[in-house]
């Protein structure tokens, strides 16, 4: 068994109003970053997981996302990276 560090991005689903993202986008526009379009603010979660291999570590984190880390009604997630811890 090896310890892996698995990182997950969780963001509000497209089409769901994200007032935080909108406030950030407005502030960026005020600062002159006119190239910025849509902004969504989410969470970045880094988990230290023991597993036989990276795929198993990723699969277990996906299950954790489905059960707890993300809300399937309003959020999407994707695995941002897996490295040996």
């Amino acid at each position: 068994m090896t310890r892996y560090q698995v990182a997950v991005h969780i963001v509000p689903r497209k089409g769901i109003l994200d007032p935080q993202g909108k406030a950030v986008a407005d502030a960026l526009h005020t600062l002159g970053f006119g190239t910025v379009g849509d902004v969504r603010v989410g969470r970045h979660v880094v988990l230290d997981v023991e597993a036989a291999d990276p795929d198993t570590a990723t699969a277990s984190v996906r299950t954790m996302c489905d059960k707890l880390l993300a809300n399937p009604v309003t959020e999407d997630y994707h695995i941002a990276g897996v490295t040996s811890a």
Partner: protein, 230 residues
């Protein structure tokens, strides 16, 4: 007939709920700790307001896995009444006792104020002492109260009369300015299809006496008492 009021770490309206059903309503109640595995014979469970587990991750997400919730979910599955108020509504959604989710208010501000609610469905276990269209003055106090659900889910709620309360103006009109948090269709409270689980962001337990500025929450608990005790 006995109410059971759950206290999670971070609950802060458990005392208000206890006062509402005991001193104001005159019913009996038992306090339940989140680590309990037993509902102690309670007939109606109240998941109170507050900030369980500091609202970490998402409001209600962690409380949903508290030991007591296993019993609360089983109670709901047997048809037992469950009331989720504010944080309790968020917990009930996270526990899939109710559809949808509660997101950050569109204003990004915590809203603590009196609101007007319009009773949309007066034929439920929790609203039978009201009349359809009746306007209630009930306080809200939340930062994450924006009700969201996928379009098919919303259609179902509306078609089946599962929207119980809506934010309205003083004339009973459902307007954008009367909506304190950006909830879809001004939804303030919903009930499940079976009719035994209700969730609402406003606090009827804080509107039990004229001293509180409103007594309009009384009918909510009186409704439950009328049905369950009968």
């Amino acid at each position: 007939m006995k109410f059971g009021i759950v206290t999670f770490p971070g609950s802060n309206c458990d005392d208000d709920a206890y006062f509402a059903v005991t001193e104001a309503l005159g019913a009996s109640a038992v306090r339940l700790w989140h680590k309990d595995h037993d509902l102690q014979g309670a007939d109606v469970i109240i998941l109170p307001g507050g900030f369980s587990y500091g609202d970490y991750l998402r409001a209600g997400a962690i409380a949903r896995f508290s030991p007591i919730m296993r019993e609360v979910i089983a109670h709901a599955e047997r048809g037992g009444p469950v009331i989720g108020i504010c944080n309790g509504f968020q917990i009930a959604c996270e526990a899939h006792l109710l559809p949808g989710a509660l997101l950050r208010n569109d204003s990004l501000q915590f809203r603590s104020q009196m609101v007007t609610l319009r009773v949309e469905n007066a034929d439920t276990l929790f609203t039978n002492q009201y009349t359809a269209g009746q306007l209630l003055r009930i306080p809200i106090a939340h930062g994450d109260g924006r009700f969201a659900i996928e379009p098919e889910g919303l259609e179902r709620l509306e078609a089946e009369g599962l929207v119980v309360f809506r934010y309205a103006d003083s004339q009973g009109r459902i307007t954008e300015t009367a909506n304190p948090n950006g909830s879809l269709d001004n939804i303030a409270g919903i009930i499940n299809a079976r009719g035994n689980v209700i969730g609402l962001m406003p606090h009827p337990e804080r509107a039990m006496d004229a001293l509180f500025g409103s007594r309009d929450g009384f009918g909510f608990f009186e409704s439950v008492l009328a049905r369950v005790a009968a």
